[in-house]
């Protein structure tokens, strides 16, 4: 404790006289400094109030001395504050300059008795103090003068509301009763000698009779929820007033009360630094049987940070207010300064922010391994346009894709804890990775996303198939035609051959040797495109069918067969494959299947060139005709589809117009 340099704030150095030093050290000790030299704010507040300075002055003092800035009263701040209060009591403005000079000691009514008690060895002090007290008749004695008047009504009345009105002009109502309350009790407790010493300066106080009655009244009041101010009392006095005191009016929490509240807090929440959840607190406070609106009001007052939960100071405040209310005191409209968590315990760093982050931290920890799932979740969002990612979704994703976690672990490690908002920009980057990784587990995770993914991947494959078949085609011929062609193009030609009614095989490949000449020519020229092959196939088929229908086929076949036969001698190699083919085809002339199309066509390609031109020409012309017919059929199909498209368009337009009509007129 540096008593020499009283002012630790702002580097100003204020000298203290011996008396001042003694007094201040006494007051300092009175205010229960803790190990680091900070003073208990409650005690300091009591002391300040005992100085009987107006609230604004006290605020100024707190500000100037630096305690407001620091948040607590250290030794230096306290001394400066004391000097400032002395200056204020003398009438000087609350400034550091005013305390530079010699000032009388600040007067704390009710506390000076304590000091006198403590320092009986300093007669000089005692002499000076009463002297000083005598000189300060303006401020200090006046309120005490009213005390005798008020004591009667006070003692007679349990409620202290009567105190407030008469006191309001002097000091703020919540404080005045407290201060005034303190005086009688403090004075009473201090003993009659000091009281009389006080009274020596003050016009007749009915202290003695009051004192006699006061203990009884005191006990009475204790029972009747009397607010006991312990501002003057030392720790021993506190012990004397061992009963639970409900200090409502001063809105100050005593040590006993604080211990009681602490125990209650512990019963709800073992950790003093943690929060009590709103519902827990609600159940607890409902037990007090106060009406819900009042509880609601108390909550509003005490939950300063508006987080729906109570920290330990908030809890004390709320409990205190409930106690006050139960004792009959009206609830204040705003939270009294002493009950504010920040003021009452300036030394205690309120840890709601850190505690509030604890659950968040837990969540974030969960998010670390679950960050991947969050990414997954965000990807899911993008994929399936679901509503925002929530923890539930994360857990759901987690449960759905546990196999993802090993893959995802590298990602979270790279990144710190991320929120969904930050993940979203990352998700596009990882979208590919997600996609790739997602495709893998899709097989064993049955989720809609996977189904969607599957569906997304499925469609691409089918299209080629349907393109070959036109289900909407009204012409059966075409269907049959396409089926034939489609199936014909497949290598499953052997199976086709077994079917009856099948015309000779598609792939151009010349089931028939004669046909081979032409068909091989055609497919040979259009071998590159499958569709093109189809067309010649169509042509082939149609040609075949026509031949079949026209029963010219036999002639044709014979005709076709004839040339190969004639050429068989010429091209032994070509014939070799042809002959067996021919044999196959011949019996299968009605349902022919071209054996190996491509090699056959390649083999026959050479032959085709050697075929007699007239037959080739005829075949070409036939093919052309067939192509034209196919074209006609296709155009017919096209027109039909166009008509259907138009119909659908019309329907869509009508629906849209109906929708527009149904939509209500919206202004803005």
């Amino acid at each position: 404790m540096d008593q020499g340099s009283a002012a630790g704030t702002g580097g100003t150095f204020i000298s203290l006289s011996d008396t001042e030093q003694r007094c201040y050290s006494g007051l300092y000790a009175l205010c229960q400094p803790d190990s680091s030299g900070k003073l208990a704010a409650g005690k300091v507040a009591e002391l300040f109030r005992a100085s009987q300075l107006p609230a604004e002055t006290l605020h100024q003092v707190t500000e100037v001395c630096g305690a407001k800035r620091l948040g607590y009263f250290g030794c230096g701040q306290f001394y400066v504050a004391l000097k400032l209060m002395a200056a204020a009591q003398v009438g000087l403005p609350v400034r550091l300059e005013s305390v530079a000079g010699e000032l009388p000691l600040p007067v704390f009514v009710g506390i000076m008795n304590e000091l006198e008690m403590r320092y009986p060895n300093h007669p000089s002090t005692n002499e000076s103090q009463p002297h000083i007290l005598g000189s300060l008749t303006g401020s200090a004695p006046r309120p005490p003068a009213d005390r005798p008047v008020l004591r009667h009504p006070d003692t007679s009345m349990d409620k202290q509301e009567a105190w407030s009105p008469p006191r309001s002009p002097g000091i703020s109502p919540p404080r005045s009763p407290s201060a005034y309350r303190s005086y009688p009790y403090g004075a009473q407790r201090n003993g009659t000698d000091t009281l009389l010493a006080h009274d020596g300066n003050v016009p007749g106080r009915l202290s003695v009779p009051q004192e006699n009655s006061s203990p009884s009244h005191y006990s009475l009041k204790l029972q009747s929820e009397h607010p006991v101010i312990t501002c003057v009392a030392s720790v021993e006095r506190l012990v004397e007033r061992a009963e639970i005191d409900y200090s409502d009016e001063p809105w100050r929490i005593t040590e006993e009360q604080r211990e009681y509240y602490t125990n209650q807090f512990r019963s709800l929440q073992p950790d003093l630094n943690a929060l009590i959840m709103g519902t827990v607190a609600k159940n607890f406070f409902t037990k007090s049987k106060l009406p819900i609106p009042e509880l609601s009001h108390i909550w509003e007052l005490s939950d300063v940070d508006k987080d729906g939960a109570l920290t330990f100071p908030e809890f004390c405040t709320a409990f205190h207010l409930i106690v006050a209310r139960k004792n009959g005191y009206p609830l204040p409209e705003t939270l009294p300064a002493t009950l504010r968590p920040g003021f009452v315990e300036p030394g205690v760093v309120t840890v709601p922010p850190s505690e509030a982050t604890e659950p968040l931290i837990v969540f974030d920890d969960k998010m670390m391994p679950g960050a991947n799932q969050l990414e997954m979740g965000s990807v899911d969002l993008q994929m399936t346009s679901r509503p925002g990612v929530t923890a539930k979704q994360d857990t759901r994703d987690e449960s759905r894709k546990p196999e993802f976690s090993p893959k995802r672990i590298p990602d979270p490690h790279e990144k710190p804890i991320q929120r969904v908002s930050t993940l979203k920009p990352d998700s596009p980057q990882e979208l590919d990775a997600n996609m790739k990784s997602r495709t893998r587990p899709r097989s064993y995770s049955s989720t809609s996303i996977d189904d969607a993914m599957k569906k997304v991947e499925e469609p691409p494959t089918p299209p080629p198939r349907p393109q070959k078949t036109h289900s909407r085609a009204s012409s059966l011929d075409l269907n049959k035609l396409f089926q034939q062609s489609g199936q014909g193009s497949r290598p499953s030609q052997h199976s086709l051959s077994a079917k009856s009614g099948w015309l000779p095989p598609p792939p151009a490949l010349p089931p028939r040797p004669p046909a081979t000449q032409i068909f091989s020519f055609l497919p040979g020229s259009e071998k590159s495109s499958q569709k093109a092959v189809q067309q010649p196939n169509f042509a082939d088929f149609s040609k075949f069918r026509e031949e079949q229908e026209s029963s010219v086929r036999g002639g044709l076949s014979t005709e076709d067969l004839a040339p190969p036969k004639s050429d068989s001698t010429l091209r032994h190699q070509g014939h070799a494959p042809q002959k067996p083919v021919r044999r196959k085809l011949h019996p299968e002339s009605e349902s022919a299947t071209p054996p190996s199309a491509t090699p056959y066509s390649a083999a026959t390609l050479t032959k085709s060139t050697q075929r007699p031109p007239p037959k080739q020409k005829r075949e070409i012309q036939m093919a052309i005709r067939k192509n034209r017919e196919t074209n006609a059929v296709l155009t017919r199909l096209n027109s039909e589809l166009q008509q259907q498209l138009k119909v659908v368009h019309r329907e869509r337009v009508t629906l849209e117009s109906q929708l527009e009509l149904l939509r209500p007129v919206a202004s803005t």
Binding site: G278, D307, S385, A666, S667, T668
Partner: protein, 113 residues
């Protein structure tokens, strides 16, 4: 007497929030703007993410009120409403009896007028 107006404006609010089907809830604008002008007054709407609707009815003669002021009013309303909701003793649906809320609303209205 304003209840009728407010009830009719609720339909407009519903229509506005249900119209945007493709956008997600958090993409949707909370401030709905001028809902419904009549000859006497203008109605402004605001909806929270929990579908709690705030409706402000302003006299049409008061042309000095700008859109930004209305927005700030809604923001203050929203903040004080969340404070009220934080109170565990408050059951959603009850009439709000919070004095802090009332004071904020009154000061806001005084400022507007």
């Amino acid at each position: 007497m304003f209840h009728y107006t407010v009830h009719t404006s609720l339909d407009v609010v519903e229509e506005k929030i249900s119209g945007v089907g493709k956008a997600l809830a958090d993409q949707r604008e909370l401030y709905l703007g001028l809902l419904y002008p009549t000859e006497d007054y203008k109605v402004y709407g605001y909806v929270t993410n929990s579908k709690v609707k705030f409706v402000i009815v302003v006299d049409s003669s008061n042309t000095s009120l700008r859109d930004n002021e209305i927005r700030s009013m809604f923001r203050k309303l929203h903040n004080s409403f969340t404070d009220v909701m934080c109170n565990p003793f408050y059951n959603p649906g009850d009439p709000i009896q919070s004095k802090a809320f009332d004071s904020i609303v009154s000061t806001m209205m005084v400022q507007a007028c």
